[in-house]
């Protein structure tokens, strides 16, 4: 059973558009949701995160919208740039002192100039 699901699998947007990446989860004990950006041949880099007590988190061009009731969240990338082309992973954990992350399968974002 896939605990964290991401959609779409791949997404292409034009430069300057807003890219919307979706994520949903099964486990209601998850309370911390980081998004990671991964370029080919690199490790995942922490991009932005949100806890379940918030419904929105913004950092520059990146915004997470969180709906606890529906167990859904989304990452919005405004004014997309070609340098944003990467795979984006949604992850979740139950917090506490463990911080074990459960990852989705990722969304491959391509930003076309």
């Amino acid at each position: 059973q896939q605990q964290v699901r991401q959609s779409p699998q791949s997404l292409t947007v034009w430069e300057g558009e807003t890219a919307i990446l979706n994520c949903s989860y099964e486990d209601s004990t998850f309370n911390y949701f980081p998004w990671y950006q991964q370029f080919p041949g690199e490790g995942p880099a922490l991009l932005i995160s949100i806890s379940s007590v918030s419904d929105k988190k913004e950092d520059g061009r990146f915004t997470i919208f969180f709906n606890k009731r529906e167990k859904k969240l989304s990452l919005h990338i405004t004014d997309s740039q070609p340098g944003d082309s990467a795979t984006y992973f949604c992850a979740a954990s139950g917090g506490g002192s463990n911080y074990k992350l459960t990852f989705g399968k990722g969304t491959l974002l391509t930003v076309t100039p």
């Binding site: 980081p34 002192s97 911080y99 074990k100 990852f103 990722g106």
Partner: protein, 111 residues
């Protein structure tokens, strides 16, 4: 951001041999992790480690796997013996109070 260093970046090894993957976590972090990623796909949790002990391990963490961090040196993942299905990229990660930071990975190829 904080840097997690992994050595080596690539390793090719004969099936049945032993391999040790090394990780230098962020200096003040207390929690350490290993994840496995195949062909750029999903990251799969293997194990986490705190205060010299394994806290939790997944079913992917086979009996042939072991982890340790002797005397604050490298955090290591040892596979003995290796199998063909162990070929993957192994990522080390560390955290203190929430944010988990990953290294660049070690690409392991078992032939």
């Amino acid at each position: 951001g904080p840097k997690v260093l992994q050595i080596p970046s690539h390793q090719i090894i004969d099936m049945g041999q032993m391999v040790t993957l090394n990780c230098d976590p962020v200096s003040n972090h207390l929690y350490f992790y290993w994840y496995k990623q195949i062909l750029g796909q999903q990251m799969e949790f293997l194990v986490n480690f705190y205060n010299g002990k394994v806290m939790e391990k997944s079913k992917l963490f086979k009996d042939q796997f072991s982890v340790e961090r002797p005397d604050g040196s490298y955090f290591t993942l040892k596979i003995q013996p290796t199998a063909l299905e162990d070929s993957a990229v192994y990522f080390c990660a560390s955290s203190s109070t929430g944010s988990v930071f990953f290294g660049k990975g070690t690409r392991l190829t078992v032939v």
